[in-house]
């Protein structure tokens, strides 16, 4: 690390005690066993407050009806599905880091995979909430599941929503199990160090009787690799299914074959941006600069830039195919996006997703924490607007002009669920920092304590 020019404010490793197994365990489990600072209390209380807005909005929706939100005819999907796809996108990136990079033997993933997987788990739960609360009658949402019943009713397997249900439930289940599975040895470590009765109790349950013997490890490694193999196609499949949900629709602006790769690359793009947004403050707050290094963040930024370029390509191609189609509805749709009454959404998307990420071509910016964080935030904003442009703007002006409506707007409760979902996410993340080892202790030891890598670049 010392050989690399860095803006990282951390003292170089030479000034710090050498890494030992104990030191690593101490560093990573410290947040669990020490009292959190006031800032953390303040932050989690604030996020709880924001999450409370989500609860209020959901309660209001259950009492009053879906009409409390800004949606209408023809904009049947507004904030709900936009934010759903946003969070699913975030979720997709986490599993990409842990499973795809695992399979490609990208060992640098070890520094961040726990956190990004946690991001996946939290984001997929928040995302999963939105389809459930966007329906008119949430109390019968379970009809989306194929379950035997005496009325002989079954979901419509031709419906892309049902595909989406399968994709989402499979993905959520897999990513939660995958994450938890990776946590088991670390939970055992925490359990063994715990002195507090409650901590002992909780972590002993979570550790599921892990004993860390060789046989355990053999099974563990084998299963972990299998999970990675299962999770990888799901990463692609999950977001492709959402893409298909739009692509099979007859709405101009949805009906495009490019949507699968478009959505997947967009998801990774946005998800990595979100990872940067919380990893940068987290590593300094938990003093993990030696584990989550600037090199790791730079690598994330590189992957992000690649995905950003893919997304930019699609943005341009969409316009081309609309023009090429000679379909007046399709052509109008893209003119409307760029010049219509919601064009600001389109231009925010273009600026945040195409222009700003180009800064990542510069190494100095890739290694500048403030810049990275700012770009991450910008890309997140851009990606939310991308989903909004695709989902809501497309239906706003479709085939029959008389049915267009300009009155769609964000109403109070739309803001509540949007802001509340962020509150809930960061509430989870803040909690995660304090109760779960944020880096895989077992794995990082394996990488950091190998003699040839000691003190150096460990990729």
């Amino acid at each position: 690390m010392s050989t690399v020019a860095t803006s990282d404010p951390v003292p170089s490793s030479q000034e710090l005690p050498p890494l030992t197994a104990k030191q690593i365990t101490d560093d990573i489990t410290r947040p669990i066993f020490t009292k959190p600072p006031m800032a953390w209390h303040g932050a989690i209380a604030a996020m709880q407050g924001l999450a409370g807005l989500l609860v209020i909005a959901i309660a209001a929706y259950c009492i009053e009806g879906y009409g409390i939100f800004g949606v209408n005819q023809p904009v049947n999907w507004g904030n709900d599905i936009t934010t759903y796809i946003f969070w699913i996108g975030i979720a997709v990136a986490g599993t990409l880091v842990s499973s795809v990079l695992f399979l490609f033997r990208q060992t640098w993933r070890t520094a961040v995979n726990r956190s990004t997987e946690a991001m996946t788990v939290f984001a997929v739960q928040i995302a999963g909430l939105f389809p459930l609360i966007h329906t008119g009658r949430p109390w019968v949402d379970f009809w989306l599941l194929p379950y035997p019943n005496d009325r002989m009713l079954w979901p419509n397997l031709k419906s892309a929503i049902v595909w989406d249900v399968f994709a989402l439930t499979a993905y959520a289940t897999t990513s939660i199990i995958f994450w938890y599975f990776g946590l088991i040895p670390d939970f055992a470590t925490v359990r063994d160090r715990a002195t507090n009765k409650w901590q002992r109790m909780v972590y002993s349950v979570l550790a599921m009787g892990w004993r860390g013997k060789a046989n355990d490890w053999v099974h563990y490694e084998r299963a972990y690799s299998q999970f990675a193999w299962i999770a990888t196609p799901l990463v692609i499949g999950m977001h492709s299914t959402i893409a298909i949900l739009a692509a099979v629709g007859k709405v101009p602006g949805w009906h495009a074959t490019i949507f699968g790769p478009y959505f997947v690359s967009g998801a990774i793009f946005g998800g990595l941006a979100m990872a940067l947004v919380f990893l940068i403050p987290m590593r300094s707050m938990l003093k993990l600069e030696r584990y989550i290094t600037i090199d790791h963040l730079e690598k994330l930024a590189k992957v992000m830039l690649l995905c950003g370029l893919l997304v930019s390509y699609v943005y341009v191609m969409e316009f081309f195919s609309a023009w090429w189609s000679e379909n007046s509805s399709e052509r109008h749709q893209f003119v409307y996006r760029a010049l219509g009454n919601w064009s600001f959404a389109f231009w925010i998307m273009m600026i945040c997703n195409i222009a700003i990420p180009q800064l990542l071509w510069f190494r100095a910016i890739r290694r500048n924490l403030v810049a990275l964080m700012a770009i991450g935030i910008a890309v997140n904003i851009g990606m939310w607007f991308e989903r909004f442009v695709i989902i809501s703007l497309s239906v706003m002006q479709d085939h029959i002009p008389a049915a267009w409506d300009y009155s769609f707007t964000f109403r109070t409760f739309d803001w509540f669920i949007l802001i509340g979902s962020f509150g809930l996410f960061f509430f989870f993340i803040l909690g995660f920092c304090r109760v779960v080892p944020v880096i895989s202790i077992a794995e990082i030891k394996a990488h950091l304590l190998k003699p040839k890598h000691q003190g150096g670049n460990h990729d």
Binding site: Y66, G67, Q73, G136, D192, K250, D405, S407
Partner: protein
Amino acid sequence: MTDSSPMPTPSPAQAAPRRVWRAPEERVVADATGAAARADEFAPEVARAIADLRTAHGHSNVSCQTEGNSDDAINELRRELTTSLPAVNRRGFMQLTGAAAVFALAGCYKKHPDTIVPYAHQPEGRTLGKAVYFSSTVRDAGRAIPVMVKTYDGRPIKIEGNPDHPLTRGSADVRTQASLLNLYDPDRLQDGPKKKTEQGYANVAWSELDAAVGAALKSGGRIGLITGPIDGPANAALISAFSKAFGGQVLHGVHDTRPDLAFSAGRGALVRLVDKAAALVTFGGDYLADIGLEELVAYGDFRRLRGVGKDADLGQVISFEAALSQTGSAADLRVRVAPDRLAHAAWGVAELVAKATGQQIPAGIAASLAKIAGGKALGEALGLMKIAGQDALGFTAERLVALKKAGKFSLVYASSHSTARTNAPLLLAAVHALNALLGNEGVTVVGAASDTTIDANAVPAAAVLAAAAKGELGTLIISNVNPVFDVPGAAEAIAKVKTVVVLADRLTETARVAHFVAPTLHDLESWGDGELRPGVLSLQQPCIAPLWDARAKEESLLAFAVAAGVTAPEFVQAKPDAKEQKTANAIASGKPLWIAVNHGVLSWQRFVQRVWQSTVKAQAKTVADDRAFWNSALARGVLVVPAKVGALSALTLPADVALAAPVADTELQLVISPSRVMGDGTWLNSAWLQELPDPVSKVTWDNYLAMAFSDIQRLGLAPNDVVELKLGTVSVKLPVHVQEGQHPGTLQTFSGWGRARDCAGEIANAGLDPNFSIDVKPLLANGAGGVASISKTGATHVLANVQGHNRMHGRDIALDDVLDLHRTDAGGKIRHAHRALWGTGTDGKEHGRLSVFGKTHDVVGHKWGMSVDLGSCTGCNACVVACNAENNIPVVGRDEVRRGREMHWLRIDRYYSSAQDDQDMLDVDVIQQPVMCQQCDNAPCEEACPAMATMHNDEGINVMVYNRCIGTRYCSNNCPYKARRFNWYEYGKYRFGPQGSSDAFGRIAKNLITGGATSSQAELSKHPLEMALNPEVTVRSRGVMEKCNFCLQRTRDIREREKTTNHAIRDGEITTACAQTCPTKAITFGDLNDEKSAVNVQIAHAHGYKLLDSVLNTRPAVTYLAKIRNRPVTAADESAGHGDAAAKPEGAH
């Protein structure tokens, strides 16, 4: 770990049952064998695990050999394992799981089911679940519309046209159908007559009211009587009997609010027969909105395309107007004229016609026309558009003269509204002169109604009000009209009368200046008759017992006369017959209702019956006995008797009359027209009507000021700005609406809105806004010439417009064609449109079906389909109201319409297009397109629904299973027609009221407190409005999607009959509510699998097309017939489809 004591042996002392154990020590085992078995259950594994555990934790002093361990050691290790998993053992886990399950299930509950109780004794002729139809008559602004009333269990649920009526032929208009809500209006007077006191209104008994009014009538002085138009033999007989009873003291005034009345220009009531004309020329006014239902039906015949190929023909409509009217939007040629120049244009045409036919127009007029023209062509001087390179006046005159020469007739129409009032009499005179010059009089314009049914002594209501103002009247009875609202200054005149009695169904503006108010019955609660045209009689019978303590207005007149001491047999019935008494008692038993026979008054029912059994029966020249005649008249509801049609009185024009010079182009001229939806404002409390879009602007719930785009820009205004409109000294405030087609410099607003607070009811109150006054009546009082000024107030009021966008952007949506091109190549434009994407289907046919499977959706048996003729559709909304009533469609209120959440299953889209690159959209072609669910064979919604809540039935209808709907709204996103509607709230709760407060927090708080039982909306859906619901159709709950299903209940009902009686359904036996009611018969419904069905005849037309099918391959069951415009072909028409019409689609031939 150090504790190595063995596990305690169970002893009898410890055997006290402990049902929960947390450590193995606590476990009480009854028999040692079982205990041993359980203790050793996991022994080897446990031991190994514990050893591993300890090794991993560095406790290497423990032996890892499992097999050799003693029981004690194993027990110790087991205890250690237990303590490493404290608090949660197997049993604890089960307990927690159970608790979780209980909590989860606690969230579920079952709705309390309602109970349905059948009849204990089923009444004769009634079958539960079967509707009973009654013929009757409903009046709108005095027009007696013959109807069939569908009732369930004694409550009317839908008003339909009477199919036996020769003029209306089963059609019904908007307000007639919507009057159903008026019947159940909770704002009607409910508790008997009222007397004005110092504090307000006090309830009095009917006898008290009658005595007081009787005394006033007896006390001498003239008696004023203001009624609506009187027609129908019984109505006329009553008025003449009443006049006779008071020895000529009665001054009967007719208060007529029909907008077309001015057309007669003092020549009595006219009858127009547009179906006998080949062309209709209108100068201002709004023919389609002004005329009656029977004339609208005739208009449908006039406008329907007849013949094929070179013989194809249809009536032509030429409209001269300033503001875009419903007529102008349907017209073939629309010529913009400033309001004050309409009279000039009309006389200009008359002059040309006179010249061509060798006749004369008055010299004064000719001179003033020449002066205005100033040597140029008059049309040029007036700034009129050119048609086919010719002056619009010259073109029109040429057309009319050509028709006359060909032995055909035309109809020229004008109305006094929508013109400058200074020239109004002369405009009407011009129209009469034109009709006379063209020989239309006696053919398309015929004389007054028959003499027998009109009170010959009647005077206009204005004369009665004038007499009142002079203090000449002792008593004034105002029956069921509202002159205080309609006529400025009426209140002051009425105040001078000593005793004022108002017969009204609510505390109207007029009722509020009365001394006594006698509540009246709704038309569906009372008897009566009507005469729509001379000799075409209809009978009115009650379809429900009176809901409240009120009595028929006619019965009030009878009772007043009896109380005043009149003893004529027309009024008195000393002894009721037994049956009558029995019925009276039965009705009166439940609630305090006024029963005529109990007061010695002849009941109005008996009065009507007597007139019909004597006078009418004689006219009908029937040999049936009284009873049979009466019963058959009631059953059919209509009766045609020979009637003498009065001749048109001669037209006289003073020779020296001159037209006023037009005002400067820079002036703003105001036109006040009757609301196209609300009419005269009587029905303002009807939520159905409030939410009905204006046929032209598509604005709901509000009055507005229509302006041209250029004027709005010039004055620095924006749409929805509230402006102060000043005419003379009077000003009102109105929100601005940009109206395409509006002549620059013209302002248009509508009367009928803005009833005073609490005078019409709660729904009408919702239209009152503190920011502005939507009542424009004060302007009418001003008498100024119409030159107005406007200024910005700074306030804004967002108009609730149901249509988002007004132009088609070159898409093939609502197609039209020009007659001449249609004659040479009937489907040219359609073919062009269809070729846009697919030429040939997978079945090899031109525009054939497309399917990757090569399969088609063939339905065996019935396959329902519909055709909609855009040519004869006038956008009148009758179909929309019919659909509302038939399908229990909720009203959502102004706020929700603003949010784009209107629930109408059937909407009428209106598009503007303009031939030139005309940014201001002044000379626009307008087309109205009713859009309902298209029942696609390849329905995009069906593949979208995850729950299979929407699917095809075996008759080709795309059905909605409300119970199965989750409400993902994916189907609606995927519907290219946007024909689906979503229940954003529990609209059913407040179905007939506005959405009200937009304060969601307040509502939710209230809901939480009251358990959801009431909300501000629910309060607006008061009892008994729910009685108007159609029990055949589910009331949808919140959160489900709904849409048109071709009135599934109707097809099902008839199909059940087909099954049980084994009779095949005849074509026309089933029809949807919209097709049934359409006055111009633009909608045809039927079985597509029946080759001879009327709908197949329509669909076969070459100008038929399916909406968006050429783009999306949805295969709809609805076929639209393109609008054929009867106007000269322009260059733009040639290029729009016909230019390359000769080129056939590739692969087709």
